[in-house]
């Protein structure tokens, strides 16, 4: 059953020109969006007030918006989070419960229950952003060291380049669709880093093994062989993981939506990059080294 990807001989390495076109276009689109639209930072990172309310009567986001007219609120973001349930985000932080009280006053003619309030001071937001960037950089650094020890430096470099590729594309999606970047989304990004690595390492591990057992083959051939040999595992694992994160998208609710959608994109992009990006980069690095040796001679 499902032994369909057995003994395949796809020329993955030969497709690397197309792959770099696809990745290039995706990254370019993402970068353009990042430049012109930027990212939609949630209050975790920008500071502000979030109130989640469940109304006891049918109401639309438009109605809420028209009721919230206190100028202190600026332009509130209103997002549906369930039946008659909405999250109202305001970029201002009043003193104490000021913003919450203003919102409750503006909506006093409606009956509702406040389910969640988050107030993040602007300094905290800035700090969290800084900490998050630090965390990613530190993680990448240690991963680079670990792979260098277990494999070779060029493996580590290719893996990390592939990681940047994944995070960049995922960030691009978040910018294009203006999905909110919150704390859980950040955790998802770090998971993507972990997952994509996992995938890449499994293939690299094959390459390391085949390099020893197939000494007569060229390096690109070894890589192609390794990818093909791992293909069955890659597809089964990615597929199951995708099923799991899709369960999160469907059943996890609004709070986990950002996290789940980041994971879905991350799993797809991560699998793709392990096969089509990380390994070809490895060939490139290998060839550059050979050229250098040649020119020295």
């Amino acid at each position: 059953m499902l032994q369909i990807f057995v003994d395949t001989h796809y020329d993955i390495v030969g497709k690397r020109v197309y792959a770099s076109w696809i990745s290039g276009i995706l990254i370019l689109l993402g970068l353009l969006s990042l430049m012109f639209q930027g990212l939609n930072f949630g209050i975790d990172f920008s500071g502000g007030t979030l109130i989640q309310m469940k109304f006891n009567e049918p109401i639309t986001a438009g109605e809420i918006r028209s009721l919230l007219k206190n100028p202190k609120l600026g332009t509130p973001q209103i997002q549906r989070s369930g039946p008659d349930e909405y999250m109202i985000r305001v970029l201002t932080v009043g003193t104490g419960d000021e913003i919450q009280k203003i919102i409750e006053e503006d909506l006093q003619e409606k009956s509702f229950e406040v389910r969640r309030v988050e107030i993040i001071g602007p300094i905290i937001g800035l700090e969290l952003r800084q900490k998050a960037i630090n965390a990613i950089l530190v993680a990448l650094f240690f991963i680079l060291i670990y792979i260098s020890i277990r494999f070779e430096f060029k493996f580590a470099l290719s893996a990390v380049i592939a990681l940047f590729h994944d995070v960049l594309i995922t960030l691009g999606f978040f910018s294009i669709f203006q999905w909110e970047i919150s704390m859980p989304v950040l955790a998802a990004f770090l998971t993507i880093v972990g997952y994509s690595l996992n995938d890449t390492i499994v293939i690299f591990d094959r390459i390391r093994e085949n390099k020893l057992s197939h000494k007569n083959k060229t390096f690109p051939d070894i890589i192609n062989l390794s990818i093909n040999e791992s293909l069955s595992r890659t597809i089964i694992t990615s597929f199951t993981t995708l099923l799991v994160v899709l369960a999160l998208v469907l059943f996890g609710g609004e709070v986990l939506f950002g996290f789940s959608i980041a994971m879905v994109i991350g799993v797809i992009v991560g699998t793709y990059s392990s096969n089509f990006i990380a390994s070809p980069i490895l060939i490139m690095l290998e060839q550059r080294k050979r050229n250098k040796i040649k020119t020295k001679k």
Partner: protein
């Protein structure tokens, strides 16, 4: 069974017993009815049980998460002595510089500016060293102590408030994190925690001084084109240096209501005295209609206004509004505005006891909530002297910079007994009692982060989280059993065990399970499946090469081990970094992911290897269900 597997099965058996032992309390707790819980609570057994169950994060059970920052500027202000006009000027400059660059340490700015301006701190902070740097390092130490003291005091207050398992910890030099699970009245809890409980007795300024101060503010505000105050477009920058403000913002009202608020401005004198126009006469006091609260506050905070006022003058609001009927019959709510001395005659540290109660059978506070205060002998002496010397004058009882009441001193008060009146409810009186007894905070604390989650949302999240995990697990299991048949069943067992082990570890370490933690659990499922897939694919590969079942299984596991090790260790690194550098929700995720990976080696590799190899150990086995 062969001897070589005995040890493995014993280890697995022990692990299972351990997991069952760790998880039983949680299961018992979850399945228990509410009535039974109440019964056990009486005997104290429930508390013992709660000690052993997996803790739920605030996002799952509802509650409040607060990050408080101690106001070091105010602390410094409290310590300082010989406060002169030049002192206040210097300090307000430091304050402005600090506000402009909040990332920097307040004391570093203080030292830098003192040195730059040749300002001698020693004059105002005697006994703390000779030069500025000595004094600043002493102040830094003081601030550190103050944060520790504040933590203790907040703990005392929270304990009296009655919340189960509150978390109160320090973060960094200036911050305190407070987590209160399952509280029903977050606002009351916030007020209780944030109240500095700084009780002061301050003499009111004489009416002439008040008139003079108002005239000065009017003079400053007149320089701002008065029409712009009424105009609905913009106010000049003098009103607010940081940003331009529209009249709506000034009055805190939206367009439609702005008309009403303009009506509260006394048109007759607006041109000449824009500040006075916002005020009303309330007998001996100055009243401010609620609609004008924002406007007046804004004017009072204006740096130029502050500069023009005498250094020893403080302007305070009353703690609540009062409603009066005006001549035309409409009802208007007012705050009172008090002009008082900057230095209090007494502060709360002389209070030895506080008791909230309802006022007696007769007198002005009949049946009203009040707080009875007792003072130590030193305080009582000062109190007697001050009241004796100021008969006929008014004194304000100030709590947290809000005037509770400002009675006229009728007689010398000996013995130190005093009453706080003017409270709205017995709860308020009780909270004041708690705060005064637990001690005053050394400095005000500011809430810089606050997350409140209602219990119903928490229950929702648990339901959604559990559904996600179960659905994810179900889908994966169906898929893996179809794909790997017999071996798939083993994978299924190891998956379930993996989750059980992670939960056991959480219970043992009293770690907290949060919503991101559940997401981590889902990811753990994914990682565990991957380990199985890698192994099974290897075994299939070996089988295709024509190896015997036993050889294929042995080779499969030993080859897969390196792959699983490298793949999991790199993710482990990511999880550890997240654990170390992440905050709140991220940490909850990282903890679960970390244990998930650790137990992935145990169940995904060790247990499935033991089961599979012991089955295939029999060399006669020709076919493997994989």
């Amino acid at each position: 069974m062969q001897k070589k597997f005995m040890l493995n099965y014993v280890i697995i058996g022990l692990l299972l017993v351990w997991a069952a032992w760790q998880l039983t309390p949680t299961l018992r707790y979850e399945l228990m009815s509410e009535e039974r819980k109440e019964e056990l609570r009486m005997t104290g057994e429930l508390q013992a049980l709660e000690e052993k169950i997996i803790r739920r994060g605030l996002d799952l059970q509802g509650g409040m998460h607060l990050v408080l920052e101690v106001d070091v500027a105010q602390l410094t202000q409290n310590i300082a002595q010989n406060k002169s006009q030049s002192y206040y000027q210097f300090m307000s400059q430091v304050q402005e510089a600090y506000k402009a660059d909040p990332d920097r340490d307040y004391f570093d700015i203080l030292e830098e500016m003192a040195n730059a301006q040749n300002f001698r701190l020693a004059r105002h902070f005697p006994g703390r060293g000779d030069n500025n740097s000595q004094i600043v390092s002493s102040l830094k130490q003081e601030a550190k102590d103050a944060v520790i003291r504040a933590q203790e005091i907040i703990r005392n207050r929270v304990d009296q408030f009655g919340v189960s398992e509150p978390t109160i910890q320090r973060q960094g030099d200036r911050r305190i994190i407070v987590e209160l699970a399952g509280i029903t009245d977050p606002e009351r809890a916030t007020n209780l925690i944030q109240s500095t409980a700084q009780l002061e007795f301050v003499l009111l300024k004489d009416p002439e001084v008040v008139q003079d101060a108002i005239a000065r503010i009017d003079a400053v505000m007149k320089k701002v084109d008065p029409e712009t105050l009424k105009d609905t477009t913009r106010i000049e920058e003098t009103v607010s240096k940081d940003k331009e403000v529209s009249i709506e913002e000034l009055f805190g009202l939206a367009d439609e209501e702005a008309k009403d608020s303009v009506a509260l401005v006394d048109e007759n004198i607006f041109e000449e005295r824009p500040f006075s126009a916002l005020l009303r006469n309330l007998g001996n006091d100055i009243g401010v209609p609620v609609e004008n609260y924002y406007a007046v506050n804004r004017i009072l905070q204006n740096p130029e206004v502050q500069r023009t006022l005498p250094a020893d003058l403080r302007i305070l609001w009353s703690n609540k509004t009062e409603t009066f009927t005006t001549q035309d019959g409409s009802k208007v709510a007012f705050y009172r505005l008090y002009f008082v001395n900057r230095e209090p005659v007494l502060t709360g540290n002389v209070i030895t006891d506080a008791k909230a109660t309802l006022g007696g059978m007769s007198g002005t506070n009949m049946g009203q909530p009040i707080v009875n205060l007792s003072m130590n002998s030193e305080g009582a002496k000062t109190w007697a002297r001050v009241t004796g010397a100021n008969i006929g004058k008014r004194i304000a009882i100030v709590l947290d910079n809000k005037v509770q009441i400002a009675p006229v001193i009728r007689d010398r008060i000996a013995g130190g007994k005093t009453v706080i009146e003017g409270l709205t409810s017995i709860e308020e009186a009780k909270d004041i009692e708690i705060c005064l007894k637990a001690g005053a905070l050394p400095a005000p604390v500011e809430i810089i982060e606050k997350r409140t989650i209602g219990p119903s949302l928490g229950a929702d999240s648990i339901r959604k989280g559990t559904t996600s995990v179960l659905m994810g697990l179900l889908i994966v299991i169906i898929f893996i059993i179809i794909n790997y048949k017999g071996a798939g069943v083993i994978a299924f067992v190891t998956l379930v065990l993996n989750i059980a082990f992670v939960l056991s570890a959480l219970a043992l370490l009293r770690a907290t399970l949060t919503l991101p933690g559940i997401a981590g659990l889902v990811l753990t499922v994914g990682m565990a499946v991957d380990a199985n897939v890698i192994i099974f694919e290897r075994i299939r590969e070996e089988l295709r090469k024509g190896k015997t079942v036993k050889a294929a299984v042995d080779n499969g596991f030993s080859r897969a081990f390196i792959t699983i090790l490298d793949a999991n260790l790199t993710t482990l690194i990511a999880a550890l970094v997240l654990w170390q550098f992440g905050t709140g929700p991220i940490r909850g995720f990282a903890v679960v992911l970390f244990w998930g990976i650790v137990f992935n080696f145990v169940s995904g590799y060790f247990i499935s290897k033991t089961i599979l190899t012991s089955i295939t150990h029999n060399k006669t086995l020709k076919k493997l269900s994989i």
